[in-house]
Amino acid sequence: MSETYLLRMENISKDFYGNKVLENVNLNVKPGEIVGLVGENGAGKSTLMNILFGSETIHETGGFSGKIIFDGQERMFTSSFDALEAGIGMVHQEFVLIPGFTATENIMLNREITRKNLLTEVFGERMNTLDWPKMRSRALQAIETLEVNLNPDMLVKDMPVGHRQFTEIAREIDRETTKLLILDEPTAVLTETEAKVVLNIIKKLSQKGIAILFITHRLQEILDVCDTIVVLRDGKIQKILKPMETNAQEIAQYMVGRELSEQKSSVWEEREFHEVILQVNDLWVDMPGERVNGVSFEVYKGEIFGIGGLTGQGKLGIANGVMGLYPSEGQVTIRGQALKLNSPKDALNAGLAFVSEDRRGIGLLLDQPLSWNIAFTTMQVKEQFIKKLLGGLIKWRDDEAIAKLARDYIKKLSIKCVDENQLVCELSGGNQQKVCLAKAFAMNPEILFVSEPTRGIDVGAKKLVLDTLRQYNEEYGVTIVMTSSELEELRSICDRIAIVNEGRIAGILPPTAPAADFGLLMLGKTDVKEGVESAS
């Protein structure tokens, strides 16, 4: 039987420093088969594809276990070039194109057709001259295979997004050896018509015998084109389905997983809130990779409001936009007062505080001591921890008060460190996250934005961070807006959860809503009826 399969991945397991991301995954692909791969963020899709494509990061982090049999041979790709050579192509989520080059040049990138000349003999192949006419006709041929209208002489930077995607696909199929093509969210940035063209291309390629591994978050696309649907969750294959025998509801169910009853115990009783403290109206945020396209919602005083959704859909952009870190437009009112956008200072003065998802990039001064990190914002914004000398002319830093504050928080949040003078870069991820929280708490905010508070920290620390947040909310009545990719986490702590899809709020659900409803909202099915508050 095995020879009928083009690709067999057997018992693939992989861990990153003890953290299991893939466990005994078996995947079989026949020639010409279109296999759809779905799963939440962190389900292991990208890791699986990276293993298949021989990505260097896999090998730098200790390799993987299991067997890959491709084209009847057991293979182990140590670099993406090996994989390419064997006949596996990959179209990445971000374009890997040269904007100043034409379609032809990009399609033929580093595979240019050349002619020998005199200097070749001396200096080697790289002195070959390019054979432009031949390259152009080769590129045209690849474009024609796709049956799209793409000008081979057009510069990529002048192309609409869809054409850039075509160029990328054309590059992969131009390799005569390509037998398997991995498409990582090829339609994510495309308009509907463009996406349709891409889906057509996929079908055509499969008719030509090229097998396709297709990753997407748009469920309808999967149902439309795939022969087989593989649902991954928590590093395991949850279910293998046939599109005729299933529906979006079921896929979402498998994807999001656990029914609520399993872990419901940790969720507190329902609370009632009345006073609106934060009102967001038609907010647009230009955050690269997390664009927000006009969201509106209200947050009540004292509640914990969750924002969930898949990566790249824009959930992270909301907090960043409100805090003024990325260019944004729209109306944000706090306690009925309009907030000036695009100004972090005004946001902080209005009583907001933010724990960024980009801990190391924005959240911390890595090469400064703990005490500074905790006190800095408060010192700059509220002028606390400052001794005024000469009638306020000199604002002297009160290192003693800062140290005291830091020691307080070290104790309160049980941050593991030598003392308050230790550099933050020497702390573990979980403790760094606690420092970020301490920094925000020190501001005594009315509304606290927390993004991905448990990303990259171990299980024990995760619980501690969430407990701290909840305790803070209960004790001080602080309103918390928490953004997270982990739905379970949101459901365990939030009073309401908004799900963001394609930059818009797909729906707001109570944490008790069935998992499948969340799954459908994440995948852009806005017609979920049950328990959905108005989406816009």
């Binding site: 100004s343 924005i362 500074w372 914002t377 914004v381 002297w396 830093r397």
Partner: protein, 348 residues
């Protein structure tokens, strides 16, 4: 043990260690080639006093993340203008000296502000642009020295030519005004220019104090992570401009301190390359393109000036030819290249 040595080497840095050892060996060899150690030390102290303020002036821009100030010449020009205006006004003694400083501070603030505006628009390319801004400012001032209407006979060419002389003596105005202040003579060969050292200490204290204030703390935060600073509501561009102004003002004061000790105001092309020795000194002291501490200034200036005093005397007596200039070029520029090729986080 080996690991420990490696760690120590890592923190000190190989080139720094080599140069310190080189300097030490020069001091050891000195008596054997008939070079007096005490006069050498005297030279070193004097040169330290002359140059330390200029080196100090680099600190704010490194702290705020603007990198090494290759445009130090702008501050120097402000200082030169202040000096010649004070001489033109025929002000002598401390009055003249402090008038020169006051005028140049005003000019340095203006120049520094403009320079800061430029650097904010070209983030990421500060160093190469600053180098050429420095060069072109010096060559522009060459024209200005020629056509500015200065009249003092002490400063213009004696034979009725146009413009200022290339070197103007501060003798009779404020020559050694700081050097001779509370001067301490230790034996016949060491005379400590106490005033200059004290003045440097005062400026260093001011600098240190500044970084203990709210504004100084903000500056340091901008340097270590501009995104963090911005998320804390700090106007990053304004803080950067402040740091550039501060650097420029200190450079202006620095050149005036240099002049009073050296005895001459050097115009025209003299300041052209002035930024490189100062930068090399602070790097030698242990600073990097993004990090600096106050003691780096002191250590760096002593090491760099030490090499500069010792090589001509010792090496010349040793091999009987003057290699000091060549060694200076190799060490100072080599040090800068070393710093530039270190891995560092690149933010734009």
């Amino acid at each position: 043990m080996l690991v420990k040595i490696q760690r120590i080497l890592g923190t000190i840095g190989l080139p720094r260690l080599l140069i310190a050892l080189f300097l030490l060996s020069l001091f050891v060899i000195a008596p054997f080639v008939n070079v007096r150690v005490d006069t050498s030390i005297n030279d070193l102290i004097i040169r330290f006093g002359m140059n330390a303020v200029l080196v100090l002036s680099l600190v704010p821009m490194i702290k705020s993340g603007c990198g090494l100030n290759f445009g130090l010449q702008l501050g120097v020009i402000a200082g030169l203008l202040g000096s010649v205006i004070s001489l033109e006004l025929k002000l002598r003694g401390f009055v003249g000296f402090f008038t020169a400083i006051s005028i140049s501070i005003v000019l340095a603030v203006i120049l520094g502000w403009l320079y800061g505006q430029l650097l904010n628009r070209i983030k990421g390319d500060e160093m190469v642009v600053a180098t050429y801004v420095g060069f072109s400012a010096v060559s522009f001032m060459c024209i200005m020295w020629l056509i500015l209407p200065f009249k003092s006979p002490d400063m213009i060419w004696a034979y009725g030519g146009q413009g200022l002389r290339t070197t103007i003596s501060t003798e009779g105005y404020w020559y050694h005004i700081l050097d001779d202040f509370l001067r301490i003579n230790l034996g016949s060969h060491i005379a400590v220019p106490t005033g200059t050292i004290l003045f440097f200490a005062l400026l260093a204290l001011i600098m240190w104090a500044f970084f203990r204030t709210k504004a100084g703390t903000a500056m340091e935060a901008v340097g270590s992570n501009p995104d963090y600073a911005r998320s804390c509501g700090i106007n990053v561009n304004r803080v950067r401009t402040q740091s550039v102004i501060l650097s420029t003002v200190f450079a202006a004061i620095g050149i005036i301190v240099y002049e009073q000790s050296f005895g001459f105001i050097q115009l025209y092309n003299a300041p052209l390359m002035m930024s490189f020795p100062a930068i090399a000194a602070i790097l030698l002291g242990g600073a990097s393109v993004t990090k600096v501490k106050m003691w780096h200034v002191v250590v760096g200036t002593i090491l760099f000036q030490g090499i500069l005093t010792m090589t001509p005397s010792v090496i010349n007596n040793l091999i009987e030819s003057d290699m000091s200039e060549t060694i200076r070029i190799i060490i100072s520029n080599g040090m800068i290249i070393y710093a530039l090729t270190r891995k560092m986080k690149v933010r734009t």
